[in-house]
């Protein structure tokens, strides 16, 4: 499917040049949005004529198997490649679809084509039910998720083999009629698989180009940070899992009739998921088409070894290829190719920043209470991190939050931003109760935070990191519009020339500014800054302080957790002091630092004639 058939829209040759047109909306991306699906559809239409060539039935079957694996690998990738939740349970959903179709045909005499939606539905329901449980448990990631989904495969297989669905003897479909879509039965299977593969590729591409896809890729890199940026991670994972399973179910339904005789031993095994994983890893899991490339390569390879007495050698060769791929191309074939192509072309155009959006609403009513925290409690296994604190944050102010290490400052930020649920107490923001809301809901309500140690999405460019926050926190549905807005925040933090760099190319100072740009991109009314100055040099601190002033000037209220007293005194309108999870003092920085109880908290029992703390730093 590499050729672009004549049906593809004849795109203007110089699309990239047109991107620099200043006033017009960037035409580069929207055109790509038409071209890719049109290419997929056109390739599919062209390939639909293959049966009319009159090739031997054997080729129909080979092509069928290739498309069959494309459906399985690409559908697997929608959850596992995009989010990094590697499922080893694809065999379970494939098998569920297969047995749904087989049972409906053999026992209830359903016509084959009617069984396919049922197969998709049942596989989807099973996946969503499993996901609804599994995705609730923090820590079920990586190897744990892989093993769990594999175990589910064996459990479902055991149940099916021991119940009348299979009964241990398999289900024969010898009497089920094959619908006449193509000139021969084998061409019918080819056409069915072609349709399924086309739909799967379109869906996989559509997701990767949409807001859903951006969210899924962010989950891959840092799920907690994604949630805090406003990505509804739980719902997105469930949607991706449901779609992935439904497509696998369709592949299973078609395969049931193709096999004509289905047994549990061949379906609910580790072989199906491992083949799928192998294909996807080989092709590249971060690209919608990567698994398809891998599926074609592996199917051809398997074909080259079957038929002859080299089948055993084939197993070994696949093993060698898998090892070589992981050692030398851990990202897969397709990303490797892309990188090679990009190196030959000049760097991608930087989107022109959109006009500065109006400052966040309601700067007018300065002084009123924006965030009201009452009686907030949070304990970790008996350690009281917050023991009933009351804090008011007023609109337009910079509130300093200080206290010795372990006094509950970071926990306060984590609870207010929704990372931890409070044990007791409530948080009211702009009159709305936030207690119990998920972190992404709090982000959408207008609260953004930064992390003390920057947590950028490692596989996204600096621009896309910021665009993600614009899209989710700022509710801009269109990824291109989000990128243009994001550019303006990169301008604001003076990172614009790094827009296309990867976060690991930035130094600490720049990564901290990226955290700020991400926090601002959702246009929050309240920004929680967690030790943004920590680890910076004195010169860099001056830069950051100036930037924080500008953040306030453009209308955001700021809660500022910091140990650098010089900056606290210079920036804050008011400070609150935490000690042992309780509110110790409140007032202006200079005033609070003079108080005896604050000095005791910081320095221990004051000796006679000790210098006031603020004086020492000012």
């Amino acid at each position: 499917m590499t050729t672009i058939p004549p049906e593809a829209p004849s795109a203007p040759a110089s699309t990239r040049g047109a991107a620099s047109g200043p006033a017009k909306p960037d035409p580069r991306r929207p055109l790509g949005r038409v071209r890719t699906p049109a290419t997929i559809a056109a390739a599919a239409i062209a390939l639909a004529f293959v049966p009319t060539l009159g090739l031997p039935a054997f080729y129909d079957s080979l092509l069928y198997l290739m498309l069959h694996w494309i459906v399985l690998a690409v559908s697997w990738n929608i959850l596992s490649g995009y989010t990094g939740y590697f499922s080893f349970g694809h065999g379970a959903f494939f098998g569920t679809g297969l047995y749904t179709s087989a049972t409906l045909m053999a026992r209830f005499d359903w016509p084959f084509l009617y069984t396919l939606p049922a197969a998709a539905l049942l596989a989807c329901v099973l996946g969503v039910a499993l996901g609804a449980v599994v995705f609730r448990v923090r820590g079920v990631r990586g190897e744990v998720f892989a093993l769990l989904t594999l175990a589910v495969t064996f459990v479902i297989g055991t149940v099916i083999v021991n119940t009348p669905i299979d009964g241990g003897n398999g289900v024969s479909l010898a009497s089920a009629p094959v619908p006449k879509l193509g000139p021969t039965p084998s061409s019918t299977f080819y056409l069915l698989a072609l349709m399924a593969a086309t739909v799967t590729l379109l869906v996989a591409w559509g997701i990767s180009a949409s807001k859903l896809g951006s969210g899924l890729f962010a989950i891959h890199d840092d799920e907690d940070a994604a949630e805090v940026m406003g990505v509804p991670t739980y719902r997105y994972k469930l949607i991706a899992f449901g779609i992935s399973c439904a497509l696998a179910g369709v592949a299973g339904g078609i395969h049931a009739l193709f096999l004509n005789y289905v047994t549990v031993g061949e379906v609910f095994t580790i072989t199906v998921p491992l083949t799928v994983v192998l294909m996807s890893v080989l092709g590249g899991t971060r690209h919608w088409a990567g698994p398809a490339v891998g599926a074609v390569a592996i199917t051809l390879l398997l074909y080259a070894f079957t038929g002859s007495n080299l089948a055993v050698a084939g197993k070994a060769v696949i093993g060698v290829i898998l090892i070589a791929a992981i050692l030398f191309m851990p990202d897969g074939i397709l990303p490797r190719l892309q990188r090679w192509l990009v190196r030959k072309k000049p760097a991608a155009a930087v989107p022109a920043p959109a006009a500065m959006p109006a400052p966040p609403a309601s700067v007018v009513s300065a002084g009123s209470v924006l965030l009201q925290v009452r009686g907030l409690h949070k304990a970790f296994r008996g350690v009281r991190a917050l023991a009933g604190v009351d804090v008011d944050v007023r609109r337009g102010e910079i509130l300093g939050l200080i206290g010795p290490n372990g006094s509950g400052k970071s926990t306060f930020i984590n609870v207010v931003s929704g990372h931890y649920a409070a044990d007791r107490g409530n948080v009211v923001f702009e009159g709305h109760e936030l207690t119990g809301r998920a972190a992404h809901g709090i982000a959408r309500a207008g609260i953004a935070r930064t992390y003390q140690i920057p947590r950028p999405f490692a596989h996204l460019s600096v621009l896309d990191n910021v665009a993600l926050a614009t899209m989710f926190g700022g509710a801009v549905p269109d990824p291109d519009a989000a990128r243009r807005q994001a550019m303006q925040w990169l301008d604001f933090t003076r990172l614009h020339d790094k827009a296309h760099a990867r976060p690991d190319e930035l130094n600490l100072h720049q990564r901290k500014f990226l955290e700020l740009a991400r926090a601002l991109a959702s246009r929050p009314r309240l920004v929680l800054l967690d030790e943004v100055l920590c680890g910076l040099t004195p010169g860099e601190i001056d830069d950051a302080v100036a930037l924080i002033r500008r953040i306030r000037e453009q209308g955001s209220t700021i809660v500022f957790v910091e140990h650098v007293m010089r900056a606290v005194v210079a920036l804050t309108d008011r400070v609150v002091v935490f000690h042992h999870g309780e509110l110790l003092a409140e007032g202006t920085a200079a005033d609070v630092m003079q108080r005896a109880e604050v000095m005791t908290a910081y320095l221990g029992q004051p000796a006679a004639g000790a210098a006031p703390l603020a004086g020492a730093h000012a």
């Binding site: 190897e143 093993l147 093993g319 060698v320 090892i323």
Partner: protein, 288 residues
């Protein structure tokens, strides 16, 4: 579904005994897996392939007239070297835990192909002096090969436990698993220790393989039959612990055997995998 039948006390105790025996093999197979996963952060699927390769080598040498237990003298050093070599490669390319799973799966395919090309896909059964020995204790029959497996599993697990707990090497390994750079800063030669441990894990796999050859019929495709249940035992026990796989293996083995006695043998996988799912859901930290 064959229905629910209550077996006699004799049958039930014989089932429990055979469950303990099979559990010992789960534990022995799981031990190396658990150490490698817990202490080296590498999930070695090839562990099972190594065990089968050792089993076939034992079968081959026994067919030349060697005592199956004496073959350990050849097999254990050989697999120690193989394990260390594989680990050297993974460390050289700094393979992530997840990719180690895929890489060792590739290795499994290669070993499976190797076994199949040498010994064919047919079932093979080791014939030895121990093969048909058994004695009876009261009403229970005790087969000797299984008893050897049980004793080996207990002795080895305790040995590993003692080493991990009381020797400098054991402490260094556990420290390096917790925080490799810090351990290195305190003078732990982590590279050498890791090679040593990886070699040991493969050597443990080969011992399990010899036990496998003593009691079970071998076929290349059987490699995959053990993966699920042994992983369940490893995760039930917790990673990087020496005695836990044996105990967890026993628990799973007995519950499987009782399930088989009470219902039908085909229901047995349900037990181990339901246990695995439950652990993963309620204690995901055990594998993290």
């Amino acid at each position: 579904m064959s229905g629910f039948t209550l077996p006699s006390v004799t049958l039930l105790s014989q089932s429990i005994l055979s469950g303990i025996f099979v559990g010992a093999l789960y534990g022995l197979l799981g031990l190396g897996l658990s150490l490698s996963w817990g202490l080296l952060r590498l999930i070695n699927l090839a562990h099972f392939a190594f065990a089968f390769l050792a089993a076939y080598l034992c079968y081959q040498m026994a067919s030349w007239g060697m005592d199956p237990l004496l073959t350990l003298l050849v097999i254990v050093p050989l697999f120690f070297a193989i394990g260390a070599a594989v680990h050297w490669m993974m460390a050289r390319f700094s393979v992530t835990p997840f990719n180690s799973l895929l890489l060792t799966f590739g290795l499994t395919g290669i070993v499976e192909a190797l076994i199949q090309s040498i010994w064919t896909a047919d079932f093979r059964k080791l014939e030895s002096a121990y093969g048909h020995m058994k004695f009876s204790v009261g009403v229970l029959y005790v087969p000797v090969p299984e008893l050897i497996t049980l004793l080996l599993a207990i002795v080895i697990s305790f040995g590993v436990w003692l080493v991990l707990r009381y020797t400098d090497l054991g402490k260094a390994l556990r420290a390096a698993a917790e925080d490799a750079p810090i351990a290195a800063a305190f003078g732990v030669n982590q590279k050498r220790n890791a090679l040593l441990l990886a070699g040991t894990c493969s050597a443990l796999a080969s011992v399990a393989g010899v036990c496998l050859a003593l009691s079970y019929t071998l076929a290349p495709s059987q490699i995959y039959a053990w993966i699920g249940v042994v992983f369940a035992a490893v995760m039930l026990g917790g990673l990087g612990r020496a005695l836990a796989p044996l105990i967890a293996g026993g628990v799973i083995g007995v519950s499987e055997a009782v399930t088989m006695a009470v219902t039908a043998p085909s229901w047995a996988p349900l037990v181990s995998f339901t246990v695995l799912i439950a652990i993963l859901l309620f204690r995901p930290g055990r594998a993290a």
